[in-house]
Symmetry: C2
Subunit: 313 residues, 2 copies
Amino acid sequence: MKLVDELLDGNRRALARAITVVENGTAEKKDLLAEIYPHTGNAYVIGITGSPGAGKSSLVDRLTEHIRKKHGLSVGIIAVDPTSPFSGGALLGDRIRMQDHVLDSGVFIRSMGTRGSLGGLSRATKEAIKVLDAGGMNIILVETVGVGQSELDIMNAADSIVVVLTPGAGDIIQTLKAGIMEIADIFAVNKADLDGADRTITEVGAMLDLDKERLWRPPVVRVVALNNYGLDDLFENILKHKEFFEGQGLLQSSRQLRLKSEVMDVVLDQLKEKIARELKDSGDLESVLERVVNRDIDPYQASDIILSKLMKL
Amino acid sequence: MKLVDELLDGNRRALARAITVVENGTAEKKDLLAEIYPHTGNAYVIGITGSPGAGKSSLVDRLTEHIRKKHGLSVGIIAVDPTSPFSGGALLGDRIRMQDHVLDSGVFIRSMGTRGSLGGLSRATKEAIKVLDAGGMNIILVETVGVGQSELDIMNAADSIVVVLTPGAGDIIQTLKAGIMEIADIFAVNKADLDGADRTITEVGAMLDLDKERLWRPPVVRVVALNNYGLDDLFENILKHKEFFEGQGLLQSSRQLRLKSEVMDVVLDQLKEKIARELKDSGDLESVLERVVNRDIDPYQASDIILSKLMKL
């Protein structure tokens, strides 16, 4: 495929087009993914999450600048907004700040929205990561807008997860409620020049003290993204996490687990399509569903009937 | 099944045990659900959601009291907390307030937590609703602790959805971000005696003005749950929504759609189990997954292989 050749050469327009192919789920998609797949697995994927207003976008912006200048690594950024039905381009207001990177060919930025299903967004994000990976990006930053189940699913694609907090107790509680405290590999307390930063750091530490089972204790890093303060420390801690996990063989094993669960997700999606297509055409599905609606059989009995029909196909 | 007979008689201990059966997914579960299913579809299910701190628990508490006293209807309450691994009993701190109802046999309260998978929680909640429905509860209130994707799934089981807001702009933004503004049938502005209540009501109204496509414009009701203010108005608006939807034939059709999607969820879960069981035993699944890990085939190619193996079984 010509698109794949261009993509593997690192052509930016090819990158953008390939992500669009993945998002739209067109016929080309399966071929594209099959062709690029052997060229993936080289990029390091960093997830950036935290409650809205924690300053994740500025952090991603400044961290990207830091990685480019100090480490010379290329950076792909995927900004995921499950509340937005739009994709591509500079859709989030704060993406405008990213214009600094427009002339830097070592940075590629893409926004992704739902386009319908939340499950689809998580899948599309994982596939966009593969595209950037095959396209030669060394570091891929995946940023989510908020904290919810879909964001948790998306963070599942990351090798290291940075949870961004801001001073103020509400932030920790909200983060706890959303279940993202547990997935953090590194905590970044952004706006650390504000009152209450020390307290937030103490509280996170106290919470981490409760969990003695962890192999890796997430470091808590002070950052003031807007002043470029602490970015060095943050990235060093991300690299430390990477080295620790690689050293323990955990990076490979967790990547393998993720790939396996990705396969199962694809299997289930394809089965869903198959059921809808084959059983709907025959009218069988509708008649079984009608029986459920009439309370003649219950959902489990209906499922047994549908499964036995499906297995006969 | 003896448990089912007792349940259909409205025995409270049988209700509690049946929900435990449903939650634990024991062997009895399928039989239980099949037996009670013909006795379901009579209760009216009201979902109560909104950001943490909006006072949903007190609202549910006082609304229950109101429904008992003014309408004499029995009320089943399911308090769902996706962040809690625990279920049953009075687990949420504020459930203690519910002790007022302990002596009222027309009220049944149950807390539910994740016990592992979030998807499982949404399923268990829908099944617990069926248990309460078969057990003769007239009204079922389903309350979620926070706002996230799992809460959205759970709200999908409700006939009418009340979104609880409190004065303060942050609440509306958070609710918007979580995608629950769109699912509201009724807005309850709780703590409406606080400063800013008028502004919140105006803002919700302005937001609703933007959406001209809606068949039903969600009313915005002022409530001060702690003072029992506005509960009458709130419940009347829920009943109005019920009547409007019934009148348009929409209640039946949306319940039917929900049942159908529930069947498909069961089908997919059972397929997932089947794949894991049959393919894992044969070692086929592992060998295909290994090829993905070795980047020999990609997840879509792996899925095709697994599906063709599955269809041969």
